[in-house]
Symmetry: C2
Subunit: 113 residues, 2 copies
Amino acid sequence: MIYSSELIKGTLKTIVLKLLEDNGRMYGYEITQKVKDLTGDRIQITEGALYPTLHVLEEDGLLVTDVEYIGKRVRKYYRLSNEGKAKTNEKVSELRDFIGTIQFLLDLKPQNS
Amino acid sequence: MIYSSELIKGTLKTIVLKLLEDNGRMYGYEITQKVKDLTGDRIQITEGALYPTLHVLEEDGLLVTDVEYIGKRVRKYYRLSNEGKAKTNEKVSELRDFIGTIQFLLDLKPQNS
DNA sequence: CTGCAATACCTAAGTTTCTTATGTATCTTT
DNA sequence: AAAGATACATAAGAAACTTAGGTATTGCAG
């Protein structure tokens, strides 16, 4: 089962930031594969969603890049800036908190009106 | 603290369906207030987001409506159709599952490369 | 040794879905 | 009497995704 894409919306940035926090540095394609692996294929980040997101995070100063060549093939590594590290903590705790709230809503019992 | 709106995206439909499942029938304005109350103001569904969503769910056959008058003021009550009840179960369990996956990602420990 | 799949980057058009702003009207409270 | 709450609704714009491409290199199976 693959989650409907609308669920991923809104969590994509946070997931990317968290992965970079855990792994130090990663390149785009690696991120798509890592998420796929870690979630047993349930979350599949498309490249069309990921690359623009990475570019925005970089523009916002949260990520910095360095390029490496593997043979002739280019690899663009991303890692967190200091600002990005702070933002990651913010976003991760907001998401944790949000999840708690949603679980509360989902666990409510039917009201007998 | 109010959750950034991007987090709500993707969960709005499911939350609305779940509330209707619990409460039998509700009108739009009531839903916005209920969510606000239940979440201690942390999730605020705007009317600009809610009404179009309700209309879409109705068009999709998941909700049925009946109108009541409170004095001269109109109230449009929504409740789940049979199809809507099935869909609600689907969406709720998908969201529960998704939350589990996200929590797993958020709880991963940093990798010492 | 060739062709396909995987690796690796990227962008653009279109769609969905939300935000923001506005409109209308009634009811309640000060 | 005015302001805020209740209650519906829509429309323009923005954001963020999907889908569909494009380019190029590398590895592997037949």
